[in-house]
């Protein structure tokens, strides 16, 4: 089943990180979610979601080196931990099992 400690936005964020190749900036994650679901997540709530995932040990942040130009800043990049990858697998597979052969109409 979808892990009970995992909210919808949290699962979306984990999936977005995977889509982005396992590690991603906050803005890219929110863009990814919007591109796939049409839902625009605000800076604050995207940030808070990542922070919760980090608290649960499902992602960790790595600091990227600063951009090589005047005033360039270093960025935090979110990366799935093994526990995070496992959480995605478990959630998705239980969702698949639940669906089975059910023909659930999907919206346009």
């Amino acid at each position: 089943m979808i892990r009970p400690d995992l909210g919808e936005l949290e699962l979306f964020s984990l999936l977005a990180i995977q889509h982005l190749g396992g590690e991603a900036l906050g803005l890219a994650i929110r863009d990814e979610i919007e591109g796939r679901t049409g839902r625009r997540v605000s800076v604050g709530s995207g940030y808070a979601t990542l922070a919760r995932l980090a608290d649960k040990g499902l992602i960790r942040f790595t600091v990227m080196p600063p951009e090589p130009r005047q005033g360039g800043r270093s960025r935090r990049c979110a990366e799935l931990t093994p526990a995070g990858a496992r959480a995605v697998r478990e959630s998705v597979s239980s969702l698949r099992k639940m669906l089975g052969n059910l023909a659930v109409e999907s919206g346009p």
Binding site: S42, V43, G44, G46, Y47, A48, T49, R52, G71
Partner: protein, 896 residues
């Protein structure tokens, strides 16, 4: 994505305040990236709008995150104590700062006291009218009142009668207790010391239903309230006990002459107990003991045509309101099949006590709510004002801040300290506001809400709690902008700028706050102007009665058991005495009066070969009635002594009836039949202007007047009308005394100006309330705004001393300098004024229903208020301008 784009400072600052320390940097970075992208995609203006939305959307999750972290982070004892000590040290630091600038502190406290005080006052009144449960009443939410009505006509029939009440009490199944009450005026004592008491007839079940415990003695027993004649026992209010018996224990068992009986005091109600209403009556009597004091006379237990009792009930637990109400109507139909409100289509609604109370205050509550909103504007102005003063001081203290930052104090600590200062100011202001609220509440109740006669205390725990919360919010709100600005001090440049000024011109925030104050005061002043004009329009209309000079005197002879036949003798003697009294221009007797009861009759107008019928109101009056009222006789003559009982029958008609019956032809000399067709026809001898009957806003109706000598038995009631020649305030007592002593042992003579009649007071209340209160708030707002303009402009002049000195050295004349300063101040006020006028025009439609014959866009009001604002702003700028003119060139330039 250019990393050089900066997010506007307010957005960054807001996020940094709300976010946890560790979250702030990455959050701001991400916001910056996306903002840069938005600019490149959609341009700067659109990106700014996006940013504002994004920041607002982001604050809640970020705040939640911060709270979660705060809860999770374990505090050791030491850090808790450290935190407490830090707060203490902040407070004492803030105290020192406030003491160092007493002028500023006093100004801020005054602004807070007025702003918060106005709000606490209005909160107290709105709360009392709409939300506060009545004192001493057990579980008031279980109590309902029965209101009858129909689906089409709505539910407004609040009174019922005794047969229906008794049936619901004895056979209703949805209620655990049922009680009924009726208000009445109780004649107390006789002769010159007579008075009228506010009384309430109450069933024996009334006090047990409310669950109230007597202060002394006891309440009514069921066997004392027994139809048709109950026991002569009375419960008196706490206030009446204090007033009449000075609170002595001897009150219990004392007797009171009420109406035509002696009543024994058996109990005293607790202090502040007002029952189901807003005001405590002086005395409660069993319904069955009110007997002759009621207008129904002896048939009160059986008649079911008229309605006079309000029914209250306590719900049985678990019974739905609708079921109880339906059952009550079933019982009522059986008990009183002929009552109009038990006919088919009618039903009862069980309305919760609190809602019912709120509805009955009607316009007062609406106006009070509106005034509550207006007082909020005053508070906003006060906040803008204080924020501006603190900003100015913050700029003066920039150097201090820079030094402390350089010494390693974090910006967060600085913000905390500055916020502590403003919250402390607001807390002190809140204490002063309680004093303002107390006196404000007393004044508003006495001057404007006198009709509701609110008797409970002005300040209670709820008002105090409200004041505390508002003070806290206001403290944080006003401190935030100055604190942010001060904490942004640029360390290096400020310190290296040297000198002791570290000064700068006023900031954009200051200018904006100033314009906001001007805008909001303009809105309030326009509101005051509109209500004022409505009040003038109401007062200026022709009513056919001079409401400011005409007295109406009434005396309830039947209540003391005197027969109606005696009334004419008593009133004729009273009229003679009144006419002979000093200060009286004229007086007359009438069977009814404007805003009194109405009596209708059929009026037949003789045509050439047919009779046309008109429904008309009528009155029976003595000569001089019209002159006394101030109604002009348009044609013909007034009644005179020659119109005796035996003389030919005559009538006077009003303009409306004359026009309907005869159009443009002359009405004089025509023949009309009033009432029963067998009566001889009467000659029209005069046409009088239309006189108001029931309401100052009514359309005129047909009216016919008969001379008293020819129509004594038509209506039993008698009134004295008298016109004051001198000061009405002095004449009132003269009239009362003359009526009171016309015969021995008379009951209280009630004498009041027409404008003080309940109907007139009630109908003009919204305008009086609106004009006076908005006027007070507007004046307050204007004062605060003037102080604001003065403070900011004079601060600015101080900061620009050097610049002014240089200008003068280069040849600027004093007048140039003065106009420079004036232009600067007036420009801001003008911008604010335009914005305020825009708001007022846009919000105009909201107040339209509350105005009378006044457009919410009344040009005279707009122009007048704009001029007032301009004059006040000019005065406020004049002082700093004069100071600028007197800048000494040498000192100014040498100073740096």
């Amino acid at each position: 994505m250019s990393g050089s784009t900066r997010v506007p400072r307010w957005a960054e600052a807001l996020l940094r305040i709300v976010a946890h320390e560790d979250d702030a940097d990455p959050l701001v970075d991400e916001l910056r990236d996306e903002y840069a992208r938005e600019i490149s995609r959609r341009g700067e203006p659109a990106a700014r709008a996006w940013l504002a939305r994004e920041v607002v959307r982001s604050l809640p999750p970020v705040l939640v995150r911060r709270v979660v972290i705060a809860i999770r982070t374990p505090h050791s004892r030491g850090t808790m104590r450290q935190r407490f000590e830090a707060v203490l040290s902040d407070v004492s630091y803030a105290m020192r700062q406030l003491r160092r600038a007493p002028g500023l502190t006093i100004t801020v406290l005054l602004a807070f006291a007025l702003g918060i005080g106005a709000n606490a006052t209005m909160f107290g009144i709105v709360d009392e009218l709409l939300f506060r449960p009545p004192a001493h009443v057990r579980a008031p939410n279980e109590i309902v009142t029965l209101v009858a009505g129909t689906a089409q006509g709505g539910f407004g029939q609040r009174t019922s009668n005794y047969p229906v009440f008794a049936a619901i009490r004895d056979h209703g199944s949805g209620f655990s207790q049922v009680a009924a009450v009726a208000a009445l005026s109780v004649p107390f004592g006789r002769g010159d010391h007579a008075a009228n008491l506010d009384g309430l007839l109450a069933s024996a079940s009334y006090f047990p239903l409310l669950g109230v415990v007597p202060e002394r003695g006891r309440f009514f027993r069921a066997d004392e309230d027994f139809a048709p004649v109950g026991a002569p026992v009375a419960v008196i209010s706490y206030a009446f006990w204090q007033r009449q018996f000075s609170g002595s224990a001897g009150a219990l068992g004392a007797t009171l002459q009420l109406g035509d009986r002696q009543f024994t005091v058996i109990g005293i109600a607790p202090r502040d107990f007002t029952g189901v209403g807003y005001a405590a009556p002086d005395v409660w009597l069993p319904i069955s003991s009110g007997g002759s004091m009621q207008f129904l006379g002896k048939q009160w237990t059986t008649q079911s045509i008229a309605t006079w009792l309000r029914i209250y009930a306590r719900m049985k637990p678990g019974v739905p309101l609708t079921a109880a109400a339906t059952d009550a109507m079933r019982v009522a139909r059986e008990a009183a099949p002929d009552a109009f409100f038990t006919q088919s289509g009618w039903s009862f609604r069980a309305q919760p006590l609190m809602t019912a109370r709120g509805e009955e205050t009607g316009a007062s509550a609406t106006i009070a709510t509106l005034l509550g909103a207006m007082s909020l504007i005053v508070l906003l102005i006060a906040c803008a004002n204080v924020a501006n003063l603190l900003l100015a001081r913050g700029i003066r203290r920039r150097r201090e801040m820079a030094v402390r930052l350089a010494l390693g104090v974090t910006r967060r600590r600085l913000v905390e300290q500055l916020l502590t200062e403003s919250v402390l100011l607001a807390a002190l202001g809140g204490v002063a506001a309680i004093v303002v609220a107390h006196w404000g509440g007393v004044l508003v109740r006495r001057l404007l809400l006198g009709d509701l006669a609110l008797t409970s205390s002005v300040l209670d725990l709820r008002v105090l709690a409200f004041t505390a919360v508002v003070a806290l919010l206001v403290g944080v709100f006003t401190g935030l902008i100055p604190a942010l600005q001060a904490s942004r001090a640029e360390v290096f440049s400020t310190i290296s700028a040297g000198g002791n000024r570290g000064g700068a011109r006023r900031t954009r925030a200051q200018s904006a706050l100033l314009a906001v104050q001007a805008a909001l005061s303009l809105v309030l002043l326009i509101g005051a102007g509109l209500f004022g004009r409505s009040l003038l329009a109401v007062n200026a209309q022709r009513m056919g009665v001079d409401v400011d000079r005409v007295f109406i005197g009434s005396m309830n002879l039947r209540s003391i058991g005197r027969p109606a036949s005696e009334a004419d003798a008593v009133f004729t003697r009273a009229l003679e005495r009144v006419q002979g009294a000093p200060g009286i221009a004229s007086a007359a007797i009438a069977a009814t009066v404007p805003f009194g009861p109405s009596f209708g009759q059929d009026v037949g107008v003789m045509g050439r070969d047919s009779v046309r019928h008109y429904t008309s109101m009528y009155n029976v009056v003595t000569p001089d009635y019209f002159r006394t009222l101030g109604a002009s006789l348009l044609r013909g003559r007034d009644f005179a002594d020659v119109d005796r009982e035996s003389a030919p029958r005559v009538v006077i008609v009003n303009e409306m009836l004359a026009r309907r019956a005869w159009g443009h032809e002359n009405a004089l000399g025509r023949c009309v039949r009033v009432g029963n067709d067998s009566l001889p026809c009467a000659t029209v001898i005069g046409v009088v202007e239309n006189v108001r009957r029931q309401s100052i806003f009514e359309d005129s109706t047909n009216f016919v007047y008969l001379p008293l000598a020819q129509a004594r038995s038509w209506i039993n009631a008698r009134f004295i009308v008298a016109r004051a020649a001198g000061d009405p305030a002095i004449v009132a007592e003269t009239v009362r005394h003359a009526m009171q002593t016309a015969a021995p042992q008379l009951p209280f003579a009630d004498v009041r100006l027409v404008k003080n009649q309940p109907v007139v007071r009630h109908e003009t209340l919204p305008f009086r309330l609106g004009a006076v209160m908005l006027g007070v708030f507007g004046a307050l707002a204007l004062l605060l705004a003037a102080v604001g303009v003065y403070g900011v402009i004079s601060y600015d002049v101080g900061q620009r001393t050097r610049e002014i000195g240089v200008r003068m050295a280069l040849g600027a004349r004093a007048a140039d300098v003065a106009s420079l300063v004036m232009r600067d101040g007036l420009r801001l006020v003008a911008i604010g004024g335009v914005v305020g006028a825009g708001i007022a025009l846009a919000a105009g439609s909201l107040v339209t229903p509350l105005l009378y014959e006044t457009s919410p866009r009344d040009p005279a009001v707009l122009a007048g208020v704009a001029l007032l604002l301009l004059v006040v702003a000019t005065l406020a700028c004049l002082v700093p301008a004069r100071r600028a003119m007197r800048v000494d060139i040498n000192t100014a330039i040498r100073e740096e």
